[in-house]
Symmetry: C3
Subunit: 468 residues, 3 copies
């Protein structure tokens, strides 16, 4: 059931040649680049049998695979099911939410393996990949999924792929500056993933501002079942966030601690979200938008500090604050951002990733600055902040300063990068939808006829139902 | 679309100040108590580097985190997605099912960390927490999720929080009596989680009996899609139950064995559930209520014995019986409980957790009593039942007796505690819904307009559909 | 709401005595056989404490449980949620998709433990089972789930159980021939699971050909929400496939490598699927059928070679090709198979498992034939292909030949076995549905009234909606 008004559009959303061309060309490029550069890490290479002896490893269980693979799988679920389903709340954009997220993430992880590999795992001309690289690639793509949330429903799949290409590149540069040049700790990515991803996406959506978007306002809401699908995304993000924040921490106590801190922060966040969701409504009812999103802010906000000695009660405090900040953001800030600053943030990523990401960066800086040998132990102190080699003399307060600098760098990269990419995406060649067809699957997807008729023609008597 | 009849209710379901107040106050209390009492376990503390040497641990992989974290994540999914979605079968209570479960579990795990900590991990004035504590907190909350099933749709979120506070407390006391005083084995919680949780919940719902509940009878059923959502809950509970029953067993063979026994029991349970579901219907058709629930009874019923030498065929027998008992319960017992005993059990927890929990306790007692050194090996025998210290001389048959005593204690605690808490929840201050608005999300939730109109006004010609 | 036309059917779909009888009898048989044959593997037995010393194992973490349990749980999710939800795309067959998959898999894993046990773990009269056996049982059942896809909606639960009984048996025989007699490597089952399962299922559906199936054509499509449910299945299969292909590989580098290769292949596959899905449609829109299925072909096609030194770029190439082959298959081949060869393949398993399985077998043969000591290292080479004992002198090219023979054997077994089982299922005693009631849940399931009325009677003015 093609509705005629789409045909008469000024905008050309026809994807038949453009999308396949980009997908195929870029995938061929990936194959060539992987062929030239990517090989297995020693722990994934068949030479491991010999390597083991040299490294004096006595058991296969010492392979990094067993330290990180369970966390990797949890992170993988967060990227594909977590983000994909979280964005399914719109009543007629479920295919786009989960399908485009699938597309951009599948491309993004390949490009991220290369970009991050060149910066971090490049040895004698080759990128050597193991399970930790897979996690980092998923992390990198996470920041693209976040930015996708801001422009959800307003962009073509080609725009999303273009954005992914650039954002992954910029992510890798920013990550290199933070981790390698500033020697900053950010295992759960409050700065590199959330702050960068959110402000990047917000800048892009600002540049793609659509003044007449209210034409598709009726499609910007949810329906009962779309809210339930979105809760699948929410819960998987919430449950697996301890894995996210601990996935690339040092073996042993650091991974253990990061999981506990995240667990605590997220639990507290649920209670303050519920409290403020009810309080800020005249009718006192809970709002699914808040429950789906603000409950996750606690995980974002301990991203930097979870592996540090934040302590369980410190985590509770962070989660407490972030549930409030995020919920208040949804109620008061999002409308203002749109009306005053012309930032149309479909999923409210500013409330879920932007502000909590900044808080996470600050908490990380403060926690690092407050570190003492007494709290960490002599060896634990050095291990936790990697104060070795040329960083042997760095003090906690200096580390705190560098952590703070990391926030600033991430913001600058996000604004500059977002402006650049937004400008590129504004070119009229990418097939984006017209204002009145935003948030609608049937521009880019074959949508089954019957259900569509359920929604659009429920009351038209001439319509034939599926079965007699 | 507020329907006027809600406004005229005698019952005041307005949550705006009550719910936020409780959430915020209790969360502040958690922060204070965590600040005073909760610290990291040595294996999660940055001093671990030094600790390792003292404990003569050679590798980080020996950290308890790697023994238990994958199981923890599975248990976490069971609590939040498993229970949350299982209860989503009601046609108009999906938000409440998953959302209130989220709220009570998020609060409950914090309170459980404290309560269980005081009883089990309290050292020199501090509660030291690690991954095993997180699992135990999730377990404790599991018993609250079970009880929630009995009162699903008939209570306010405040009542659920109050119940959680008391039930977690009583759970910890009961657990202490069983594990520490009676020296009973119950790794998968047939007694502590299922029997206690179910009979506690049934007592509460008995006291909250609503004689006129048939006023909302049309909302007590499912619709096609709500049954599919519920199957997500069912399957995650079913698939991850081997992790549940093995999560806190001893390292090595005990964890391994517990997973295998549970896998076997659950598989058998599916077949007898299907058999009896078809057999007990005149039309011979399968009933989703049975498939969603009774298929899980096999996991409940090996909760105590899974880590023992129950053997795979023993597990099949237990699963076989429980699929039958549970399905027969749904068909014959649940209606009688309501009409004769005035126990309105929304989810049928008596069939899924009550009777199978009792069976599980008994199977555990018998399996323990039948243990021999020949079957377990000399060392394995002592390790399996922890017959050390003051329990060095305990014999299997005595252990069996104590296991049986554990069932009785759990039941007494459940009835007494349920009566107390039911009485508290009956106070007219908690904002519970009127009989005719039970099982309906829009009392406590902002429900999207369009979908609501789909259901309530599908045929009213004046209604405007979402799109032209 | 029983519609009268079902009653007048020539076909008797009444399950009341037949289904329970089979379920109960077979489950009793399982209990007896388990009682006679099945015991715990030493690593799951309480004697492990003593065993450890004999085996010189220093730590419990060396128990195979910790090497494989996380992968096992992922595989378990793929079988029950992955396949179950993937098949939920039909508008009125959600209960059957997830419920019958649940039934056949629960029975199948028990029978597979026995069948595979007799062939592979039979020692001194007993089958000793551990976590690896659980994975293998799930794998075996995976091939039945695949075959189920071809006959989805057209068979009774009894037929499915009968098919499971035979297919598991034949699977175990085929697996024994390949792994033990031909000494073939196939850790991810491109041949044993996918090729065998697909061509077995296609043969069965060919024999059960229904010339008048277009009578239920209106029910063969999807609706909006059923497509979203199916995406849950797709994503869990996609995300956890690295666990599937690595689950039973050798400890250490082989597991590590298998996960990486699968990750890469699947990522590439998504891009070419999207490309061809758009390209092959005149309107250039993406088709959910392709996204739900063809994106997974990359995982199938590295099933044999993932644990070998396929390398990341080799994996990308395989994924690239399979996304194309699979999508083209859905567009052009499936209709031809039905019209010319009378193969009615409901889920298109030929495109998802058949062709990619064959490609996987070939890629495995080529990769094995191309193996050198330089690439694998001296010890790694022997370990990777298990060139020990009587296979000490086998060369890579000979191994490649045997791998190719494995494909042929799997195909022959599939065609012969499928013909046999198809013939048995054609007997008029199993209660299969009439042509016009295929793809409809309410033949075998109690379907909630209201939703049914939503779909069938949406416009009948006399119908009473659920609520006023």
């Amino acid at each position: 059931m093609e509705r005629p008004r789409h045909q008469g559009m000024a905008k050309n959303t026809y994807m038949r040649w453009r999308l396949p061309l980009i997908c195929l060309l870029w995938e061929v490029a990936m194959i060539v680049l992987f062929g030239v550069f990517v090989r297995f890490d020693p722990e994934a290479d068949a030479h491991w049998e010999e390597e083991k002896k040299e490294m004096n490893v006595t058991s296969d269980i010492e392979n990094d695979f067993y330290f990180r693979y369970p966390s990797f799988q949890d992170v993988h679920v967060m990227i594909f099911v977590g983000f994909g389903f979280l964005m399914m709340f719109l009543k007629r954009y479920g295919f786009g939410a989960v399908g485009f997220n699938f597309l951009l993430a599948a491309f993004g992880i390949q490009w991220a393996l290369l970009m991050q590999g060149w910066f971090h795992s490049f040895e004698t001309g080759k990128i050597l990949i193991g399970v930790e690289n897979l996690i980092n690639a998923d992390f990198c793509v996470g920041s693209v999924c976040i930015a996708f949330g801001a422009i959800l429903g307003k962009t073509s799949p080609i725009q999303l792929l273009v954005m992914t290409l650039f954002q992954v590149t910029l992510f890798a540069v920013n990550e290199y500056i933070l981790l390698n040049l500033l020697h900053v700790k950010d295992a759960g990515g409050s700065m590199t993933i959330h702050t960068f991803g959110a402000y990047f996406g917000l800048t892009v959506t600002r540049i793609l501002y659509r003044p007449n978007l209210e034409q598709s306002k009726d499609k910007q809401g949810s329906v009962y079942h779309s809210d339930l699908f979105a809760m699948i995304g929410t819960l998987y993000l919430w449950m697996y966030w301890p894995s996210f924040n601990s996935a690339i921490s040092e073996h042993g106590d650091a991974q253990h601690r990061a999981a506990i801190n995240t667990y605590c922060s997220l639990a507290a966040c649920v209670l303050t979200t519920m409290a403020f969701s009810s309080m800020l409504q005249k009718k006192g009812k809970l709002d699914m938008v808040h429950i789906q999103n603000a409950t996750l802010a606690g995980g974002v906000a301990v991203g930097t500090s979870a592996e540090m000695m934040l302590t369980p009660y410190g985590s509770l405090i962070v989660g407490f604050i972030c549930g409030i900040v995020s919920t208040v953001g949804y109620v008061y800030l999002t409308p203002v951002l749109e009306s005053r600053l012309h930032i149309q943030d479909t999923c409210g990523i500013h409330n879920l990733h932007g502000m909590p990401g900044l808080i996470g960066g600050i908490v990380g800086a403060v926690t690092a600055a407050a570190a003492t040998e007494e709290v960490y132990g002599k060896e634990g102190f050095i291990k936790a902040f990697d104060f070795t080699g040329s960083y042997k003399t760095r003090t906690p307060s200096v580390q705190g300063g560098f952590q703070a600098a990391g926030i600033v760098v991430s913001l600058v990269m996000a604004f500059a990068g977002g402006a650049l990419v937004g400008g590129i995406l504004k070119l009229p060649i990418w097939g984006d939808p017209a204002d009145e067809t935003c948030f609608e699957d049937d521009i880019y997807w074959e949508v089954p006829e019957d259900e569509e008729s359920d929604v659009y023609h429920m009351h038209s008597p001439g319509d034939k139902p599926a079965s007699p």
